[in-house]
Every structure is written in C-alpha cells, then in structure tokens.
Symmetry: C2
Subunit: 214 residues, 2 copies
DNA sequence: TAGATTGTTAATCGATTAACAATC
DNA sequence: TAGATTGTTAATCGATTAACAATC
C-alpha cells in the first residue's frame, strides 16, 4: 500500500480544526517549529493527547527536542481534513439560519463551498443570498446530479426535515448536516451529522442552575 | 436532605432534549404510559442506556410491565433541564447568525429567552430583530446587572470574541454560549459552551471523503 | 403464574492520562 | 553529555452495553 492512513479517533478529528486555527496563528507570527507541549499549553489540552493527535495525522512526524515543522504540520492537517479539496454543498431551507450559513465566509477555509439554496417559498425562489441563487426544492435532484454535489445542509423546520432528507438521498447526497431537531432515517451509506443546539443549550442551562444554587 | 438529585452524566444531559421531543410527540398521540424499550426503538438507542437515562431524572421511576407515566416523565425532564424556569439571555454580535438566533422561536421551549441584542455597528443600534432591541455594547454591563441576566451568547467575529467575553464576565454573565472559533479564557466560576461548527464540519467532510474513495 | 420491564451490578469499549524508553 | 521532546505501551477513567435478579 502506497500510503496508509492511520486510524484517527473521532474525538481527534473534532480537535483538528482547533489545532489548525492555532497553528496558522503561530505561522503568522513567523514561528518555524512547534512542539506538542507548546500547543497543549496554548489550547489548554493534555500534552500526551496533543502528541497523539498530531502523530496520527502528521506524515513526517516530529523531531525530539525541536518538535514539528509548522508548515508541514499545517499542510498535513489540511490534507487530512480535505481542506485542500473544497467540496460543494447545498442549503435547503433559506430561513434565518439557512441564509446565515450561506453568508458565512469561514466555510471556504474549511473545505465547504455552498453553491445554492433551496426553498419552497415562492417569494424566495429566484432571489439570491450572498450571491448564491435560491431554487425551488423541485429542482434539487436535477441540480445535485448535474453538479455532482454530495453534501446537503438541512435548515428547514423540524416537520419538513425528513421529507427534505429523502429528496437529498434521491439527489445523490452522501453527507447530511442536519440543523433540525429530528432523528433522520437514512440508508446505511449516508452519513448524518446532527447539529444539536438543544443539547448544547441543555448543558449550558444546567450549568447556570447549578452555579446559582450552590 | 429533602430532595437529592442523582448524578447525571454529561452525555445523558445531552440526550434529554431528544427524549423530551420524542415523549411530547407521543403525548400528542394520546399515549399514557411508555417503556424504555419503546423509546429506545423510537430514537434508535440502546435499551439499557435509555433505561439508565430515564431513571436518572425520573422522580417516581417506572413500573415493571407498564413502564413510565408519560406525563410525569415529561415534567421530570423539563424540571431537570430547567425548562419550567425560563432564563433571560443576551446575544452579542447581531450579524447573520446572531439575528438568526434572536429570531428562533424554539428557544423559549428550551428554557431560554433572548431579550436583547448588542452590537458595535451604529446602523444596527436602536433597531430591532424579532421585536428585540439592539443596544450598544457599552450598555451591556448596565443592562445585564439591572435585569439580572446570566447567559450570554457570542456571535461576533473570532477576533472580538475574547473582548466581548471579558465584558460579559464583568456584566455578571455566568454561562457563555460561544459560536466563535476561539478558546475563551474565563474565570473558574464561568461556564463556556462552545458551539464548534468547524468540528462538526470536519467529521462531515471526512465522511464524504471516505465514502467516495471506497 | 408467566412474561415484560424495571433497576442494578458486572463486563466491555473508547478515550484520556500516566509512565517510560528512544533520540536528536 | 544533559535535557527536552518524541512515540509507544500501560493504567485510568467515563460511558456504553451485557447480564441478571426483583417485581408488577
């Protein structure tokens, strides 16, 4: 095998974008080499954890005493996360949240390019958000197949989420980023990433309660 | 001790909103009793996990053969999560995401009431979003103290997040919901809940890559 | 009673942290 | 060489899942 990717734990994948942000900041400061202990301190993480995380994606590894070559490490992480290979995506449901996502500049740097929005509202269809056209849902399958789009973002009200998801599957979407409060049923080959704001809110709200009582 | 709350694991807290949504749906269908195995099947979870989760927040427990009283269970979860006791919050940074959050109807049912927005943009100050006034950041400390607000939501660009957070701390905020890609430094008694979209995106993007190659 | 479901104790799993030998 | 840092193996921790006795 020419190049075998090590098995990278899910939790590590989640931390990689943070490393990337931190490391890029350091690169801007002109730093050349960086060690796991320094990164750990900067991000408030355990040193061994950082060492393992970086080792799991770094192609050349680090050198004792000096650490990693900063630029190489940044490239390795970007490559691992696929940021070098920006993927097209669509947003379905152009309400407040949907148009916020369509307007967000940061996604390009994270390998995601939202190219269009979809909605059922005739007042929205034909308009643009952040220079991106809004189409009727009826056009979803045709457009996704033509442009080979495999990422779908769901920002419709909960009650329409499953129905939209079903259309996405028919359109050839492989990964669904779901902002609705619904457990989507999908075929086995499709990935669903739920953005569970209610779960975050539960923890947040809980922490205030505890802090207030004790 | 009159009423001692069992220790509830963090992961359980995260699932509670899902249970609540599911159970309320069942209540609307007129169901009276519900068992852990049924909930597990409905939400695609492990049966034992559901039983433990429910046991950890239910005051009266369930009965073998019949399960839990649906209404009692719903009330127990709502009470545990503090949904019966809606807390006021502010949003700082009224861009696309900030105004999306201010416009979102669902938060009220999750114990959160956003009462105002803050921004530094003079064009925004004095206007309203979803009937909620936008104030200058300069007014944050005064308003939070006067109205006893302890939850702050940060939706400003990354480079301003720490500075906004510092003001929140001075204003008496105890829990920060942070949508910026920044590790906020806060005193020990303050909770920060990071909404890490980049982390979700990393996992999502990874899944597409894998699905495409193999 | 028989059977489904509860609550709990034990086993497994994955991730984090600690310990340590190898090395620049 | 001495010391910092790497990569890896072992120990710990928390959460999930399995096993099982109690009970309606």
């Amino acid at each position: 095998m020419a190049w075998s990717e090590k098995k990278v734990p899910r939790q590590t994948v989640k931390r990689l974008p943070d490393y990337l942000t931190y490391l890029k900041g350091k690169a801007d400061e002109g730093v050349i080499n960086i060690s796991a202990p320094v990164v750990a301190k900067g991000l408030n993480l355990n040193e061994v954890q950082v060492r393992k995380d970086l080792a799991s994606v770094s192609q050349n590894g680090g050198k004792p005493k000096t650490g990693y070559m900063l630029n190489g490490l940044i490239m390795d992480i970007e490559k691992y996360l696929g940021y070098d290979n920006v993927k097209d995506a669509i947003v379905v449901g152009v309400g407040h949240l949907g148009s916020a996502l369509m307007s967000f500049k940061g996604f390009q740097n994270h390998g995601l390019n939202i190219i269009a929005g979809f909605d059922t509202d005739n007042d929205l269809i034909g308009t643009e958000v952040n220079g991106k056209k809004i189409f009727s849902n009826d056009f979803m399958i045709e457009l996704c197949k033509k442009l080979n789009i495999h990422i779908g973002i769901i920002t419709v009200p909960n009650e329409y989420a499953q129905e939209v998801c079903d259309i996405m599957v028919k359109a050839g979407i492989l990964a669904v980023w779901n902002f609705a409060q619904v457990h989507l049923k999908v075929p086995g080959n499709i990935t669903v990433q739920n953005e569970n704001l209610a779960a975050s809110l539960a923890i947040l709200s809980k922490s205030v309660k505890i802090d207030n009582i004790y």
